[in-house]
Structure formats: C-alpha cells, structure tokens
Symmetry: D2
Subunit: 295 residues, 4 copies
Amino acid sequence: MKIENSFPGKDVSAEDLRSKFPLAAKQHPTHQTIVNVGGAEIGGREIVTMMGPNLVENSDMIFTIAKWAKENKVSMLRGGCFKPLTFPYRGEKYFETGLEGLKWLSRAGSEYGLPVVTEAVSESQVELVAEHADMIQIGTRNMQNFPLLSTAARTMKPILLKRGFGASLRDFMGAAEYILLEGNSSLVLCERGVVAPHTHRATSRFLLDLQIIPAAKEITHLPIITDPSHATFWAPWVKALALASIAAGADGVMIETHIDPENAAVDPLQPLNLEQSTDLVGALKSLADVVRGIN
Amino acid sequence: MKIENSFPGKDVSAEDLRSKFPLAAKQHPTHQTIVNVGGAEIGGREIVTMMGPNLVENSDMIFTIAKWAKENKVSMLRGGCFKPLTFPYRGEKYFETGLEGLKWLSRAGSEYGLPVVTEAVSESQVELVAEHADMIQIGTRNMQNFPLLSTAARTMKPILLKRGFGASLRDFMGAAEYILLEGNSSLVLCERGVVAPHTHRATSRFLLDLQIIPAAKEITHLPIITDPSHATFWAPWVKALALASIAAGADGVMIETHIDPENAAVDPLQPLNLEQSTDLVGALKSLADVVRGIN
Amino acid sequence: MKIENSFPGKDVSAEDLRSKFPLAAKQHPTHQTIVNVGGAEIGGREIVTMMGPNLVENSDMIFTIAKWAKENKVSMLRGGCFKPLTFPYRGEKYFETGLEGLKWLSRAGSEYGLPVVTEAVSESQVELVAEHADMIQIGTRNMQNFPLLSTAARTMKPILLKRGFGASLRDFMGAAEYILLEGNSSLVLCERGVVAPHTHRATSRFLLDLQIIPAAKEITHLPIITDPSHATFWAPWVKALALASIAAGADGVMIETHIDPENAAVDPLQPLNLEQSTDLVGALKSLADVVRGIN
Amino acid sequence: MKIENSFPGKDVSAEDLRSKFPLAAKQHPTHQTIVNVGGAEIGGREIVTMMGPNLVENSDMIFTIAKWAKENKVSMLRGGCFKPLTFPYRGEKYFETGLEGLKWLSRAGSEYGLPVVTEAVSESQVELVAEHADMIQIGTRNMQNFPLLSTAARTMKPILLKRGFGASLRDFMGAAEYILLEGNSSLVLCERGVVAPHTHRATSRFLLDLQIIPAAKEITHLPIITDPSHATFWAPWVKALALASIAAGADGVMIETHIDPENAAVDPLQPLNLEQSTDLVGALKSLADVVRGIN
C-alpha cells in the first residue's frame, strides 16, 4: 500500500509527509511507535493513565496521590512544578514550587514505582527537569518554541508534546519533527483542546478535538493521548470526555487529580478528587478492554 | 437540589433555564425524557442507531439496506428524500427522489418493521413527510427556521432536531423550546459537527463537538444523539467518532450507510458500506453494554 | 483575462464559478452589479447607508428617525417588524409590531422619500413585506432557508441577503444563486459577523469578517455591505468597524440607530443614538470620498 | 470616570485590569502611550508603516527596499533574519541569513535613516538582535514564551509583540504585562490574524480581527498595529485590510514588501512589489489624514 496516495483532500498532503515531516510520518498502516517511560508503555495495546495535580503544592499531597495512584494501577504520576502563567502575578493561594516541587514529585514517583512527567517551561530548566523526571512535558503555549523543543529532545528523555491551542495537525507534526530530528524518538502527542466558537462554559474556551485521533493515526506512527481536564475546564465533564478519547482510539489520557479540589491552588473547577479519580480509572479500564476488542 | 444554582460560569444561565427555555430545561438531575418512535426508544438505557443512505436513490437500495438493518438490529432507518442543497444545481449523478423516495423509504420501513426518519425542508412538505415517516428531521440549515419548527411540531410526530453548524447550545435550546411549546414533547437533539478552525481535511469544515453531550445532559431532559458521518465527512473516521459519542454519553448515533459508497449520488466519501456498517453496529453494541455499566 | 485561472488555493474553485454559481460569478474584473432600491444605488461609486432601529417600536420613533435620516442624507431606512427570535418567549419590553410596524415604516419612508428595508421571516409574510417595503431582508438564520429565498426572489423586489453566521463564502454564493436563478438580479450581500473563538466581549460571539470584502469582490459582481452593529453587539465599537468596512471596499453599511438606546426594546447595547449616528454618517462620507480616490 | 465600572459583559473584567495587568491597563480614557523607535513615533497622531521583506535574502534587496522606503516616507524597515519555521527542513529556495542578514538590515537602515525591526526567536539571540536592531519583534508562536518576553524586555529596546494566532485579548494583555513588568514600557501590540472557521482561501487559515482594535483601545494605553500580509496570506487583499486597519483606529501597519515577489524565498503569494507598495503608502497617507479628522 502506498500511504502517499491515500490523502486526497487531507489538510496534510502526501508531499508534506515526504518532505515536511518524514520522521513523524507513518510509513505503513501498521507502523506504530511504542514509547517506554520507566516501564509504562504508550502506544501499545494497553492505554496509559497519567494522573496527578496541576501543581505539586507540597510533599504530602503528592505522596498521597502517588500512593492512591499506585493502588489504582495508574500508569504515571503527573504534576506541575514550573508553570507558564498567563499573567505574571500569582493569585493569593498560588505559589510555584519549582525545584522543591520537582524533588517531591520525583521522590513520590520513586517511592511508589511510578514514572513521573512534568513540564519544562524554559531552555534553562530542561536539564533540571530531565534529571528529576522520567518524561518532559512541553506545554501548549510552547509547542512552537523550537529552541525549547530541540533542547528538551537532546536530553533523550521521553517527551510529551501538547498541541498548541490554535495549532493545526500540520503545525503539530512540524513541532514533532523538530524533536525527532534530534534523534529522540520517544515522543508522545497530546490533544488538550483547541480554541473554538462554542465551548458551553463562559469561563472556558477550549473544545476537545477528537477528530484528531483518527487523523493522527492515519498519518503518524507516534502515540497520541488527550487531556480532558484542561479541555473542559470543568470536573463534571472530564469522565465523559476521557471515555470518549479512549473510544476514539487515543493511547491514553492525562487527568488532573487533587486531594481537595475546592482548595486547589490553581484552577479549582478542573480536578477530580480521589474518589472520582478511582471511579474514572475503573471506567477507563473497563472501556479499554472492550475498545481493544472492537478496533 | 436546586439546578438553578449550579451554573456559575455556564454559557447558559439559571435565568435562561427559567425564562428562556423552561420546557427544555432539566428540572431535576434524574429528569430525562424517553422518546418513542415506532417502538424505538431514544433516551433510555439502550442506545439507538439510525442508519441508511444520505439519499434514498431507488427502491432496491433502500430495501436492501432495510433488510440488512433489520438483520443487524439497527433501531431505525434513515434516508433523505427532500434535501436542502447548498447550490441550486445538481451534479450529474444527483437527483432528488422526493415523494417517490419517501414512499420507498416508508415501504421499506414497514416491510422490515423499522421506524423511519427523513427530513422536511419546507413547511409545505411537512404534512407529506408526517404522513409517510415516523420521525421528522429538521436539518442543520433550518435549525432556526422557526415557522418550519412550529409546523413540524404541530404534526405531533417525533422530531429530530439537528444543531445548526454555527449554533451555540443556547441557540439549540431556543429552537427546541419552539417545538416543545407546540405541545410536542417527542423531541431528540442531534449534534452533527460545528464550524471550527481545524478539521484535518481540506474538503470538510466541521468538528464533532462532544463536550455538548455532558453539557446538554446537565441542562436538558431531552435525548441527544450525534451524526459522525456529516461531522467527519470521511468514512474511515466515522467508527472512531461514533464510539466516542456513545462513550461520552450520547443516546445514539445517526450513520450514513450505503450499498455502494463509491457510486453514491451524494457525498461519496462519507458513507459506510454494509460490511463496515455491520462491524460498527457490533462495536457500538459491545461498547454500549460497558458504558451503561460505568455511568 | 480569464477569471477561471486566477483562483489557485481559493476556497472557491474555478469549477465552482462555472458550475455551482454561474449567475453570481464575476465574468470579468470590471463586472459589477448596481442595485437600485427606490433611487438608492448600491454597488456604484457612492456608498449606501441603511439606518434605523432593530425593531420599529412605534410610529413616533420611526418618523423621528426617518426625519433625522433624510436631513443627514442617509440612503435608506431600516427597521424590523417581523423578527426571528432565538427563544419563543419575549422579554418584558419586547413586542413584535408586525404588520402595524410595517405600515409605520412604509409611511415614514414615503413621508421622507427614503426607501425602506425590512426582514421577512417566513414564506407566508413575503407578499406582505413586498407590498410595503422597497427591499426584502433575509436574515442570517434563514440564509439557507431555500424556499424562503426563492419565494422572496419571485416578488422581484430587491433582496438583502445576510450571511449565515456559520456560513462560508461558498455557502453564501450558493444562497445568492437561488435568488438569481428566479430571474431576480437585484441582490445585495451583507456580512454581519461570524462565529469565532474570540470576540472580546463575554456577551457576544460574532467577529466581523472583513476579508470577505476583497474575497467577494474577486469572485462575484454582487454588491456587498456590512452590519457592524450586529457583529460587535456594542455601540462604542460600531464606528470603528463601519469605517473599516468602507475602507476595505464595502459598498455600504447597515447600522442600528435608535432615539433612546437605553430603553430599546431589543439589544440595548447595540444601537447608536441620533447624535452618534450623525457623527458616523459624517465620518463615513468623509472616508468614502477618500476611499473612492485611492481604490 | 472610573474605567473599572465600564466593562459589563467584557471578556476582560475590571478585576483583571486591576490585578492581572495593572501596567498594561488604561487608567483614564486619554491614557495613551507613544513609543519612540529611533524617531518613529507609534501611538501618536501619525500612523506608522513598517515595510520590508519576510526574509532579508541578501544585501542588495534590503538596500533597494530601504532606498525605496526612504523615498516614500515609510516609517520603519522590517525584515526577518532569524525565523521560526513550522518544519525543521527548508525549501529549495529558503536559507536563513541570521547574523549576516541582521547586519545587512542594520546597515540598510543606517544608510537611509530608517529604524529597523526584526524578530528574535530564542533567548540566546536576544542580545544580538538588540545590538543591531532598533526594535525587537516577538513572533506569534512565541507570544506566551515568557522567558523570551522577559529577556527581550530587559534589553530596554522597544518591543513589537505579535498576538498569538489562538490567543485571546486577555492572553495578549498577560504577555504584555510580562514585558512591562521588566520596566520596559516601549511596547507595541500587533494583530496579525487569528485562526477562524472561514478564511476564504484554502491555503490560509487566519482572519484579521479588527474588533480587537477598539477593544484594545478601551482597555490598554499601548499602541496597536496590524499585519495584513500574514493575516490574508494573499497580496491582492493586503491593501483592503491595511486601509481597514487604519480606519478602525490602528496606530499603523506592518506590510511585506519584496522587490520580486514571485521569486521570494518564503511565502511568495504574500508580499507586495515596490509599485504596489508605493500605491499602498500613498493610500494609507490619504486615509490617515481623514481618519485623524473624524475620530
């Protein structure tokens, strides 16, 4: 089969596949990369779950969540330490925990045998993050910060690349190609919602794009997961969109979990509490078993 | 519980629920309408499947599809007879079958015990459609054609209301309210894709909005289904989005099925053939069983 | 020059121009229709201004505005009598004035020698509107209500066709073609804002698309105007966008003018008062003189 | 007048103005910053024009354009030396000229007494760019690359901040605040088109948002210009949108000018040639004279 003939009317052309992102392009229908992050396999038969708080607020909370995660067979622990903020001023409750948070996260992961993923916001942080985390997250606002992409890639750590909230699939592939070109093929894509005219909440502006899942599966061998927490910005809708992601063929989900959502330092409407998270993990497991059988 | 206090930051306010669409508004978390269309129940524990061609091209094809549908336990037969076309000129292959098509559809439904749904494009057609079909579809381009909504509602036939491709959830509720106000409460909503900046195919411009599923479930008691065929405009992505819809909590899906997609009179890239449709029906059934258990 | 060769990469292809909307298509770079509405010429060297209230609330207000309009050399009087409402229930202040309003509008126009334009919402109203108005407006929600388009066209009255707020330029041309095909070539297009991710006001959701002006000028001979009042939904921004429309090459603007905006029966944030309207008319005149010289 | 009371229904709240971007917020209706870039004043009574090639391809072309610019009273010379590319591979014609290009640009500016603006793509380039250019441009893909913003700001050079193509006005203000917080108040905003459902060309995806001009004028004292070349991606539409920008109240425009557009190394559909540029400069001048009088 010639992949290159199969894209009439696609935003991404056969010529793009050959010359714009040859490394990210799928070479054969069965071509699929599996990224191993400290034992968690992303892109294989099992879905992955990356769960944890938006911000690693203190040591206790991240150890509590890590313990819960381990008990519930969550694949990876996520948590923000360095964070890009829309505004330079922080709210009353907010405090960035930086390197200290990174160490808490790292220790919590080690203690419970969970690989950890966290974001690097600037080139100068990359080394530090690479030292303490198992996977480096590039955030939506930095998807086209090409020097950061290349610097992160050169650590040879697995990379989680979030789609820019205004970026096309073609832009997304371009960003992926920068990472792959450094010889780092441990790359996972993440759809996290895009700007759209209607999002059904006055306080949010993102719509989870699930058409990108089959679209990405057609053109690239890279695994792709979704982040329904940031897309919906509203805890009651997270489960529906997480399940939908897996049903659409996503290789996993990244979910915000907090021990006390109402008192979260950032975005309190968004995280699930532990009880809701446990319910979601169970639901995802049941669903994934079926989806595996029917695709 | 007071529903009206639960919508801070929602596009739809508590005031809207009370004064703009009191009939469509959910009055209690368990408030859920079940619409019965000739035996098919929409909004209950079982999901519904409405399948059939974009255009009822001839008698043979609709009987073949009806037979297949019956054998595969599809809930309802869909097919277009009268169609709103973007341009007044028809392509070489295209021909509207109108009343003749309506009779073929109706007979095929009767023959195989399947309720049928088809679109009414103008007020003057409503009576005719009501006479021959079990459910009247209002298309996306007519969602705010209020005289048509009211005329269709007054037949007391069940109505399938497709969301306008530029319409907000609030607009959608307004259109629903026009129908309910006529005393017709057999109303089903249908998400069919909205205009969005990126859709991943150069020839399409719609993105299936699955956030509307939990959003609608919060504010209205009306059932809601999706149409992944029109949203994706690309057969290979239909299964992924149909499964995602059910996982997100939709009450069913409407799917284009054709006996020979390549030679379809309209939109040949969109329909599934019978084999693909059989596979999809099986997958939906397996998925729905699980989703029912985990929600 | 062959128009058909000049559209590489255009949403509208040369094939569309030939086969989808041959009547609306521009046949030569100088091909430009001028629509005469009771003496007001739209599409010629002079810009047109259509001003008046969203709703013709009573006789006094429309006569006051008509008198003001005449004194300020406004081209046409606009005013709603029949209106499509998102919800079936009207607010406290709101009342549709229907035929009575239509007569007030018509008499005010006659008294001051101003052609009038008003909307027809349903096929059954078309005759009545045609009898009392000089131009029939088709609203954004009805742009693809094809029976209404054809019915309105057959009155042979000039038609003002507003772009659907989710419609593409190609959709817009399709709707225009339905009207032209009835032998009615007195057709004016109107851009009134489209749904977009960011509109800078929480209570509005439209963005005035000014790229459509040069785009339309390339492919169609039909005049095109804009409606900055509905697009911005905010009186303080109307002047900026009205001026921008003319600078972009629009053939005119439609503006909401009210004698007492704060107490307007509908959308009180939107209309200009008479003083602001006078200022705008003067500004538009000055601008148009310059724009004519530099294009 | 209390600005803070004047934003009911605005995406940006009074609370945002006080606590999220107090430095960028307008404190009084007449509060307006004028940024002086080597003699060119941005934000004052005169509009500014920044013209030049997408890429400074060689010494000859930039000197030719600089000479032309001086003769035509263009305010500033623009030209790319370092460029963020969507894909890591360059086309046949493309070559980044980097430091060499920067020196050509700088010398051409000096020779003809024109201040120059060029983009810095990474923190490590900032010093170099600051040394050779009069104004540092932050590109759309880097609008939320906060370390880059702060680094550029600390050079105390004037900054041209382009809006992210998916960013809200609120996001834009947040990015501006990062720059102002470094004590650098020589900041100019630039609207360059945002992602939108319809853009009227298959090969482009941006819509110039002119509603942001009056919106920005309401909430911030910072000057704002537009870039119609990148927004439209199509030379024949640039003039219309440039004129519209000035009519809407923009403080200037940035335009791509090339000596030989057909053979441009990047985006050949976009630049104006010198003849077209001369025509545009004249038209802008005539228009600005009128707009100044009517606002």
